[in-house]
Amino acid sequence: MSRSAGRTFLLWLLAMLAGAAIVWNSRFSADISFFLPVRPSAEQQVLVDQLKEGAVSRLLMLAVEGGDATQRAELSRALRNRLAATPEFVTAQNGDAGSQDAEREFLVRHRYLLSPSVTSERFSEAGLQAAVANSIDLLASPAGLLLKPLLTRDPTGELVELLGGLNAGAEPASRAGVWVSRDGERALLLVQTRALGSDTDGQEEAIALIREQFAAAARSVGLGTLKLQLSGPGLFAVKARATIKREVTRLSLISLTAIVAVLLFVYRSPRLLLLSLLPVASGALAGIVAVSLTYGTVFGITVGFGSALIGEAVDYAIYFLVQSGKLGMDAWRQRYWPTIRLGVLTSVFGFGALIFSGFPGLAQLGLYTLAGVLTAALVTRFVLPRLAGSAFDVRVPQRAGSILGGALRHARTLRWPVIALAFAATGYLVAQRDALWLPNLSALSTASAEDAALDARLRADLGAPDSRYLAVVTAPDREAALAAAERAGQRLDRLVADGVIGGYDSPARFLPSAATQAARRDSLPSAAELRPRLRAALVDSPLSAGKLEPFIADVEAARRQPLLGRQDLDGTGLALAVDSLLLHGPSGWSVLLPLRPAGGEHGVDLPLGAVRTALAGSGALFLDMKGEFDALYGDYLGEAAWLSAAGFAAIAALLAFTLRSPRRLAGVLLPLVLSVAIVIAGLHLAGERLHLLHLVGMLLIVAVGSNYALFFDRIAGGGTLDASTLMSMAMAATTTVIGFGTLALSSVPVLHAIGATVGPGVLLALLLSAVFASREDAR
């Protein structure tokens, strides 16, 4: 190794070490932010917050299976008691009647601060008369029996007022005193973790803890044969991360092993193999460094894309080592480097287009591959030649050369069949154009079908909120947020009364703003005022005022009671209800008011227009989460289509500028476009569910496939393709197909889609370029 080679190597090594240091300190993530918009609208921000930090993202649904109903109930209680005593969980509910006593007790104790009907009119003589008469009437109704025990404490029926606003239909079924599935075969529990939904480590620990506690609880009650089922956003996040971790290693290993085998087979020299891998390693490292420095967080899926990068980045070293052996360095630079450089540029344009995507995962994939490819090319051009010296010669076997040359000469005969095939594919695509792309984001989810089915079943059994319709109000502090929620609530009350919506939830129901609580407390009369009013009001009533001393005492106590704060809800399920609807974010407080459809003839859809009109001017934002999700994916898809078109246009412009001949431009682009059509039609015919990553894959077929098409353009430009050029192209295309093809094995839909599109696409691009290359000059 010469001194200059040593210096180059040293510089390269230093750069690599610096890169490794950056990667070592990078934050890796496998959570849902891969899919969440970089520049969210106000509505999308609500969606993002809900998915990352919302209470729903912290809920885990548990089901106890096996045994009989009594055994399941016993284990459900044992598990609930253990989980409730564990600080990692905010609440653990199983519908046990005892576990709801705390809530009832809270509502009874604080009814005069909580009930919306507490006003000074209600405690006037006429108001008391009407309220008590109403309660007595209620005693005559079938529901009256439940109210009877409280009559002397609550003769105005404030608890009824409070419960009236709650959704009585949403409770899960109950058997042997605990929640069960609709068929009664599973006991159900609902657990909220303290860890945020976006804290995958925390979720993993919480899930492990639940399994541990279940096993311990089962042992303690001697029911070891019962099984636990578990689902929820946290489990999906944990599983997705495990899948991605496993796949990154597996895919890279498969891709690397296969490529090393190809290289060793041809080179038969460990030294040349190592030299070939030098640009690859540099590129893979540079890709992660670039992503880490630009975005701060590297997604696991991005690293998983490394398998494809290996296949693509190794190409340059192959060209160099195979082509420059006979020619010598300078001649290679002169003859081949411009073609390779142009190929690098088309790849850069293709992957570069993705960087502008608002879909963060896609932007990362683009930057990662762009930085990787560029670095690999630069290292090949400026570092590799110095390290390789001139002491290498890759022998091109005579036979390989003549086979490839012969194949190329005969390829032309396939022109018409290929054109016919492409026509058929295009016709098919045009006919299917409306049914080609899946219209929702769920296609990108890593969750398996079984997991999704279990989740849907538990969700339906528990009646767990799907929070499709939300009104959102924001304010700088908690009090203002609650007051705003109360104002929006008044408008929603009117919609409920008119039957437009079935009902709504509000944190202000259990935690009214201080102003509202104070107004209610101030409207309560003193015992000295209340006693004579009651006597006058109840003169003709079957309920004599003399029996209502407990009521007078309760009102008096309520007058001296401090106002309720959030901490007063601790230990009841109401804390969960309030926390899930009253959120503290970096930009202040926001309140969620989930709306329920009226049901019946109104169906499950809300009249969006009517609700928007009712809320107009209240400062509340109304959104349909499902609509937002669909719109988000629609945005991504539209943007991906636009970016792919722009990327394609940029590549075409680059080629037009460089080739300076419409005929040669057409010669390069035609095989690429036909490959795209045939691959997409083929995938759709094969039953693949096409989504936005397949769409992006179409651009990448052009960007990567052009690398090979350009070599055939040398023929059109009057050059020739000798045996070593042909062999290097065959090798380079093989490694690239291996790289992307490996991705097609992935169970991560994002990676699979790109692999399944680009792998076959590149192979086809090479073959079609050969078919359309001019025969006269192909010798």
Binding site: N134, I136, D137, L138, L139, A140, S141, P142, A143, G144, L145, K148, L151, T152, G164, A168, G169, E171, P172, A173, S174, R175, A497, P542, L543, S544, K547
Partner: protein
């Protein structure tokens, strides 16, 4: 002597059988033949906490086998509808709907009257022990809760009637409060 005593015992037991000829199955069979109809009701509730009983009146409509509508007219209009598995209450603008299968205790309580009307002995015996007295023209069936959760609320239900027509249902609650439902048929299907 011994033989006489023995035949006496046999005769006595035969007499008992003859006397108890009207049994629960027979009653249930009669009730099941009743396919529905409309009736006026008066419901009198006697509660310790109130100085005098409160009285509600209205109409009931039963359609075999599982639809019962109880429409209270005084003192406050209110509708209770028990249809298959769903119990709905409507009072002014307030509506409440409960799935009975999700609330076994509520089911036993509310459903007893419907099970009586349809002559569904098995359903009644899930939650109550049955005891019948009287004859076909004037019978009294007493339902004693066998489940502790219901027994905590309810001492017994006493249903009386003639042939296939229920005349009154009395609920005696655990705390001594009573509710008496008197039924007067208007028309039959």
């Amino acid at each position: 002597m011994i033989r006489q005593l023995f035949s006496g015992l046999v005769l006595a037991s035969l007499a008992t059988v003859a006397h108890a000829a009207f049994d629960v199955d027979q009653l249930m069979g009669e009730l099941a033949r009743h396919k529905g109809g409309r009736a006026k009701f008066v419901e009198k509730r006697t509660l310790a906490v109130l100085d005098r009983p409160i009285i509600a009146t209205g109409e009931m409509t039963y359609t075999a086998p599982d639809r019962l509508e109880k429409r209270t007219l005084t003192p406050q209009p209110e509708t209770m509808l028990l249809d298959k598995d769903r119990l709905s209450l409507e009072r002014g603008k307030r509506k409440l709907s409960i799935k009975l299968s999700s609330q076994p205790e509520a089911r036993a309580f509310v459903d007893s009257i419907r099970s009586m009307l349809s002559g569904n002995r098995a359903a009644l015996e899930q939650s109550y022990a049955l005891q019948l007295s009287g004859n076909g023209d004037d019978w009294v069936l007493t339902l004693s809760p066998s489940e502790p959760k219901i027994a905590a609320l309810l001492q017994r239900i006493t249903v009386s009637g003639a042939k296939d027509q229920i005349r009154s249902i009395e609920y005696l609650l655990a705390d001594g409060d009573r509710s008496e439902l008197t039924i007067e048929p208007l028309e039959r299907q």
